[in-house]
Amino acid sequence: MKIQVQQTDLARALGAVANVVSSKTTLPILSTILFEADKDSLTLSATDLDVSVVTRLSEVQVEKKGKAAVPAAKFVPFVRTLPSDPVKIQLSGEHVSVRSGKARMEEPCMAPEDFPALPKVEDAEAFEMPGPVIVEMIRNSIYAISRDETRPALQGVLWELTPKRFTMVATDGHRLARVHREVKTGVKETRKLIASSAGLQQVMRLAEAVDTVKIYLGEHQLSFEMGDTTVHTRLVEGVFPNYEQVIPKGNERRVVCDRETLAGRIRRVKISADRVTNQVRFGLDGTQLTLAASGTEGSRAEDELEVEYGGEPILIGFNHNYVEDVLKHMRGENLVIALDRPDSAAIFVPGEDAKSDVLASEDLCLLMPLRLND
């Protein structure tokens, strides 16, 4: 293998794949990036066996075709520091060398045959959507996934696709985020699958700057084609709980408040919160929302904000970390909180209309309260 490529192109391509290369692995081949030089293109691949990223560079002069599995740990940082000039890469024997001007580096390679076979894009149902939209959908749902390793299904994000709608749901059993967008998905009938969060994380990272992402809904894997780069990720096995059933229909106590103001008040009051429960109590009375926290060491804090509220007074406690997560992932200036009882789920949606149909909102979050024994 002998090629020449612009440093900026190479660095960008390496950046796309290097993220899934693991440095601590029992399989040393997984710490390499597979280089494949073909007629007039260079393909770089990396995988951790669950998620694979493949990127193709066409602005490249191939003098001699070939393959090499290049350990990433030193190669990638070295290339990043090179000036934006042409870079020459050559494989001689077991070593790969990089050269730019007088700068030169040599690394021993591994046998390319040992590199795991990468998944191909399956011939499957596929649809396209704008990069920023899928990034937003992932970002606004993935925060609610579970960390419980005994429940892999909850560590992933549920996808529900109908011909015209794309829904993502994540939950850890204490809270649930549901995001949907009107997207022509091309599916013939409703499909449900669980996407791995590791894969989605790569998509979030790579799709932001991409106009169109093409998504292939394979039998066992998802593939995301983003320009020259493709991410493959396995589907998560398991059963996702019936989330629709837990979204309450009757939460009629509606609060409208300013998102930033609420976030600021919580940041202040939570300083006194109990370190175990992280509880902050929301007390609604008239147009006053009182936030209060108290810790086991006798510390107490309180603050208030003006809100729009027409219901009966109510006192309800939440883990402030959960509320803060919700506030971080809501769009818009205002949000509507729909409550029922101090021990039943609260609904958070963006918006300023107390009477709006919260259940239809594109972004919705359910929070289960922390109930104080009495």
Binding site: G173, P241, V246, R275, T277, D343, A345, L370, R371, N373
Partner: protein, 626 residues
């Protein structure tokens, strides 16, 4: 206050007895003799040493030297610089029932001295060859008598300085039956050393030396306080594990030192009990120490404990046993509770205690200072993150020593802050990840099992499972005691199908489970619905955890153990973070905070340690720097 006065009076009377108002030695009247517990005074060399050293202390000695030949079996000498015995009284001193310490049976009600029977010298003299050499303060020349088997053989002047020397040779030479009961030289020597250690701890101001043949077994110079003496007795390495305790109720005062669960022994040799400075063996007192450590130490391990109880002489009867090794308290239950509570309080690290309000943290003062001062840095973990809530060991309280707060290890809100973590006033204590100036995290998870962090003068290694277990146990305990706990409501309530036994157990314990934030309700048939669980409970595993708890509870019920204890232990064990679970920095921070907010952070409920402290001095030693 009452008690201080009492101990003051006690000390003064003993001094008076020895120095100014020494009464002549007189024979006690038969009626009084009747009332003194009779029996064997001398059992072995250690009991001889005990009697003689007590006499020296009664005489106000400041230096006591004990010399043994073959562990005292051949010869045993006790030498002091006390008040001495006037020459003319010497023969009387070795008579039975002759004492200078009490005048009649009225004094038996309130004994301030060790001696009161006038029995010891006579008893020792009757079973050995004894020489007494003494000179009292206002005599120009001393005197000496030699006695064998109780008969005075020689009496002559002696050129001794002020003080008394008693030589005991050929113990039991005339009573072979008793001689047969003596143990090996080694065990007799150990027994003598134990007696002297106890006495030395009770009298820090007195210098003690114990020699056996040609070796020095104990050599303690006069010390200012108990801590200094304890240092000298146990060595600096053990001293870092000691913690002071004290407490009082009407007419009773206890103080002393106990080792934290970080230092234990396989037997009770490290436990010394003294009542009014008298070495005693009291099951009740050692039981109280045991009770204080009950859920902290594994079975078969014992903490060091120096327990000094001061009781108004009228509230304790020391006249119940011929060797005075046992006492009888007027109110045994009160003694037990006082000791247990005081020790427990000292192990407890909580603000609740607050007789002394914690000083406000002084921050940024001195992470550099103090690093090279072993006697301060030895104050270890305990003077580390936790001491902020507490007075700490007395040696860390001394004025010249920087206190805990000097190194800013406890920030507001009780957040545990490893040494070196910058404290940004605007920083949110709950969420902030401590980072060193270099931007490196100050918690480090080792093999997803242990957390490493540094405190002043030491590396601390925390076992994540054991510590979380300790945390859950204590939090559960508070919940059962009625402290309100929040229950995290579940989006997907879990339904548990129970078998008949589980269901029966559930029905009995539903109330306690509810207190611990498990919100459950019977759901018809064998089904139970779980609506809420303790917040941040790990391994909830869709209800499997509750089923495990019910199973453990069932077992406990069958074996008759305390069900609440069983709930707590089971909950803590099943709910705790496992070894192998990866933790984020905020999670590690929160774990440390909560660990040091618990009463006894040093061990899990099964007695396994939660943390190990490796002092810099230890590391330096291992690397050959010292």
């Amino acid at each position: 206050m009452v008690c201080d006065l009492m101990s003051f009076i006690w000390t003064v009377s003993r001094m008076n007895l020895a120095r100014t108002q020494r009464r002549p030695i007189r024979l006690l009247d038969p009626e009084c003799v009747e009332r003194i517990a009779a029996g064997e005074v001398v059992e072995r060399p250690a009991s001889v040493v005990k009697e003689l050293v007590e006499n020296s202390l009664d005489a106000g000695a400041t230096r006591i030297l004990v010399r043994l030949k073959r562990s005292g079996l051949e010869e045993l000498v006790v030498e002091d610089d006390g008040a001495g015995i006037p020459g003319r009284e010497l023969p009387l001193a070795v008579e039975r029932h002759a004492t200078s310490k009490i005048a009649g049976s009225g004094d038996l009600m309130a004994i301030y001295s060790y001696g009161f029977r006038g029995e010891a010298l006579a008893a020792i003299a009757s079973v050995s060859r004894m020489t007494v050499r003494s000179r009292s303060a206002n005599e120009d020349i001393g005197a000496r008598i030699d006695i064998a088997g109780g008969r005075i053989e020689k009496r002559e002047p002696d050129g001794r300085h002020r003080g008394t020397t008693i030589v005991v040779r050929d113990l039991f030479f005339n009573t072979p039956a008793r001689k047969a009961f003596l143990r090996s030289e080694q065990s007799e020597r150990r027994a003598v050393a134990q007696v002297i250690t106890s006495m030395a701890l009770a009298h820090p101001a007195v210098a003690f030396t114990l020699r056996n043949d040609d070796s020095v077994v104990i050599d303690l110079s006069a010390a200012d306080d108990l801590e200094t003496r304890a240092h000298a007795v146990f060595g600096a390495a053990v001293a870092t594990h000691l913690r002071r305790f004290e407490g009082e109720t009407e007419g009773l005062r206890v103080e002393g030192l106990v080792s934290l669960p970080t230092y234990t022994r396989g037997n009770r040799t490290g436990q010394h009990f003294l009542v009014n400075r008298r070495v005693i063996h009291d099951k009740g007192m050692s039981g109280a120490v045991y009770a204080a450590f009950r859920d902290v130490l594994p079975a078969g391990r014992f903490a060091l404990a120096l327990v000094f109880l001061e009781v108004g002489p009228a509230r304790v009867d020391v006249n119940v046993h011929p060797t005075k090794a046992e006492v009888r308290f007027r109110d045994e239950g009160m003694v037990h509770e006082l000791i247990r509570h005081s020790i427990r309080d000292a192990l407890t690290l909580g603000r609740e205690r607050g007789e002394v309000a914690p000083a406000p943290p002084r921050r940024g003062a001195s992470s550099s200072e103090g690093q090279g001062e072993p006697h301060v840095t030895e104050a270890d973990l305990l003077s580390g993150p936790t001491e902020g809530y507490d007075r700490g060991p007395a040696w860390s309280r001394r004025k010249e020593s920087p206190t805990l707060f000097d190194d800013g290890q406890v920030a507001e809100g009780g957040t545990f802050r490893p040494q070196g973590a910058p404290v940004d006033p605007g920083m949110d204590p709950g969420m902030a990840i401590p980072t060193a100036a270099a931007g490196l995290p100050l918690f480090w998870q080792l093999h997803n099992t242990f957390i490493l962090t540094q405190i002043r003068g030491a590396l601390v290694i925390v076992d994540q499972h054991n510590s979380h277990e300790r945390i859950l146990y204590n939090e559960g305990q508070k919940a059962l005691a009625g402290q309100a706990v929040a229950s995290q409501q579940l989006l997907f309530p879990a339904t548990l199908e129970l078998n008949a036994a589980e269901l029966a157990t559930y029905e009995v314990h539903q109330g306690d489970l509810e207190k611990m934030a498990f919100r459950t309700e019977p759901f018809g048939g064998n089904t139970v619905l779980v609506r809420g669980i303790p917040p941040e409970l790990r391994n909830w595993n869709d209800g499997a955890l509750l089923r495990d708890i019910l199973a453990d509870l069932g077992d406990a019920g069958r074996s008759g153990s305390d069900p609440r204890e069983a709930i707590l232990a089971s909950y803590a064990c099943h709910g705790a973070i496992r070894a192998g679970e990866k933790l984020t920095l905020p999670e590690m921070q929160s774990l440390m905070d909560r660990l040091f907010a618990t009463e006894v952070p040093y061990s899990c409920p099964h007695g396994r340690p939660t943390l190990i402290r490796l002092g810099l001095s230890e590391l330096e030693r291992r690397f050959g720097r010292r």
